[in-house]
């Protein structure tokens, strides 16, 4: 049973007032760990299709107090961001732009609500912010990460260079469909007025099916050459796992970030991390990055509740 959610605000280290919603369970169910759900990025404390609202309601039913809040410059919080491109903003989040805001949220909960143990939860940008914070703050006892990125976003990166073989296949099906369909006349107009991405079209059409093994290696080499891996990720991950903190990574099977996690982190570092007692990975079959289908977000929440019950 949940007491009515309360709007709250607290200052960050630069004096910006950050807004959030604090969910509290009834006194008889109150657990000592507080879950902080960290903003994924532009979509703030609500997250795509209100995923964070659904998560908060489920977590509080289990007895966990939950704070969802907006980082500075986002949602209802104070502050302004200067980035022109969304990719540059995401890149700044991936290198820890909001770690201090997260620490301020914990400080505020500690001072105002006498809470001292935290589980950091979040999707994408919220997940990487949680990991970078967990690696440096001992008050964090657990990490609940959805679709965590191991790469760095930037407007300088040509993303089509990094399409996975599966994504190239999908592009090819789409182009062939348009080639054969008169209803796709707008695509033809774009093609003949030099507005199409010819390089990508030819790359996807020329790719053999099934994709050759070496394509994956080639993709990996390109990534290495362009060095878009997040250099902070391996250290933060190693530090958090070795400290014994509980970690659950949930990935969406059809999400490029899952492929990048496997190829650029697990394979290239140490596969045995999967066997750590305190580190669990769960993959939602067929799901996309934001777990948009109802069965996918239900599966995310069910798995998360199971993990919370087992570990806390």
């Amino acid at each position: 049973m949940e007491i009515s959610p309360t709007p709250v605000s607290f200052p960050n280290s630069n004096g910006h007032r950050l807004f959030g919603i604090f969910h509290q369970p009834s006194a008889e169910r109150f657990r000592k760990e507080c879950i902080i759900i960290l903003s994924p990025g532009i979509k703030s404390r609500v997250a795509p299709h209100r995923l964070y609202v659904k998560m908060a309601r489920s977590f509080v039913d289990l007895g966990f107090p939950v704070l969802r809040f907006d980082f500075y410059g986002l949602g209802d919080s104070e502050g302004e961001l200067e980035e022109k491109y969304a990719a540059d903003f995401y890149g700044s989040v991936q290198v820890g732009r909001y770690v201090n805001d997260t620490i301020c949220a914990m400080d505020w909960l500690e001072q105002e609500h006498k809470m001292s143990k935290f589980i950091l939860s979040g999707l994408c940008g919220g997940a990487i912010t949680g990991l970078l914070t967990a690696a440096q703050d001992n008050r964090v006892s657990g990490l609940h990460s959805l679709s965590i990125p191991v790469i760095l976003d930037s407007s300088d990166i040509i993303y089509d260079e990094f399409l996975t073989p599966a994504e190239l296949r999908r592009r090819r099906s789409s182009y062939i469909g348009k080639l054969l369909s008169m209803s796709a006349w707008k695509s033809w107009v774009r093609f003949f007025t030099f507005q199409s991405d010819y390089r990508l079209i030819f790359r996807s059409l020329l790719q053999s099916s099934p994709p050759k093994k070496e394509k994956d290696g080639e993709l990996g080499r390109k990534m290495k050459k362009n060095d878009i891996k997040n250099p902070l990720f391996p250290t933060a991950f190693e530090k958090t796992v070795s400290s014994g903190k509980e970690i659950l990574f949930i990935f969406a099977e059809a999400d490029r970030l899952y492929w990048q996690f496997k190829e650029n982190f697990i394979k290239k570092n140490n596969v045995s991390v999967y066997n750590q007692d305190n580190f669990n990975v769960y993959v939602v079959k067929h799901a996309n990055h934001i777990f948009s289908f109802k069965k996918w977000n239900n599966e995310v929440i069910d798995k998360s509740l199971e993990w919370l019950e087992n570990k806390y």
Binding site: I21, V46, P48, Y85, A86, F291, S292, F293
Partner: protein, 273 residues
């Protein structure tokens, strides 16, 4: 400027709102901001926040709120409808009147489907002085077709095939089930209600001043639909503003829309507010 987040009641549920109040030079003019539909609300959130702050610093009072089943408000999206939205707008207006006692004139400002709802609400409510429509969804049926297209695109991306065609999706809705678009569950009654909305079909009964803004990346000339909508009002103005389509994903980080803000603000000042 003072910002107060709070929950306020409407019938059996609570809605989340933020009241922006000026600390000085109070113009005694209050607006209720009405957000767009589903995921468009999240993309556009910061644009509305920053315009509310801009106006509040200049003496206006603004109440932003989340519809039932949206944002931080209670309820589920699939239970919402045109009626719940009209009722929510009325509750928000009442809340603005109760909380901001110095305000004497009231306006509605809506974006996309929020503008459509603002237009419908203004026809019904007696005490609205000013109506501002930012890129309104004028024809509901076309908007619903876009929503169905979004479902087809997700099917294609996930299953590499279309498992349910557009016609089959409508049949699923008619059977009383919901369909998913961008993570939201849409039911038939709401689908039908939105499809039947056409702001051009009747003369609007709202008699106050209206501003219709067409938002485009490279505006060239006013669209015929916006012009016809303007002609459906007794006292309306129409203009164009240059901005990215900030209610959907673009490569730009959109938190301000200066041309849109300036056009709106100048129009408000020119009309004696």
């Amino acid at each position: 400027m003072l910002e107060t987040p709070f929950f306020f009641p409407n019938k059996a549920y609570k809605l989340f709102g933020v009241l922006h109040e000026p600390l000085q030079n109070n113009r005694n003019f209050g607006f209720v901001f009405i957000h767009p539909f589903a995921e468009e609300k999240l993309w556009a959130h910061r644009i509305l926040v920053n315009f509310a702050r801009f106006l509040a610093r200049d003496g206006f009072t603004i109440l932003r709120f989340d519809f039932m089943g949206h944002g931080d408000s209670e309820g589920e999206f699939q239970d919402s409808s045109v009626e719940t939205r009209l009722s929510d707008i009325e509750a928000a207006l009442l809340t603005l009147k109760t909380r901001a006692t110095r305000v004497e004139k009231y306006g509605l400002l809506g974006l996309r489907f929020g503008a459509t709802m603002a237009a419908l609400a203004a026809d019904k409510l007696n005490d609205i002085d000013t109506l501002i429509l930012w890129e309104p969804v004028i024809e509901g049926d076309k908007y619903m077709q876009q929503i169905l297209r979004s479902n087809l695109a997700t099917q294609n991306a996930v299953y590499k095939e279309i498992r349910h065609t557009r016609e089959q999706l409508i049949e699923i809705l008619k059977e009383g089930k919901t369909i998913n678009f961008d993570g939201y569950q849409l039911a038939f009654p709401f689908y039908k209600q939105i499809s039947e909305i056409n702001l051009l079909s009747d003369s609007r009964t709202f008699q106050g001043r209206t501003l219709i803004i067409q938002i485009e990346k490279n505006p060239k000339k006013p669209s015929q639909k916006h012009t016809t909508l303007k002609e459906n009002y007794n006292k309306a103005d129409q203009c164009m503003a240059t901005a990215e389509p900030f209610w959907k994903e673009t490569k730009y980080f959109c938190s301000q829309a200066n041309d849109l803000y300036n056009n709106t603000y100048d129009w408000l000042l020119n009309h004696g507010n």
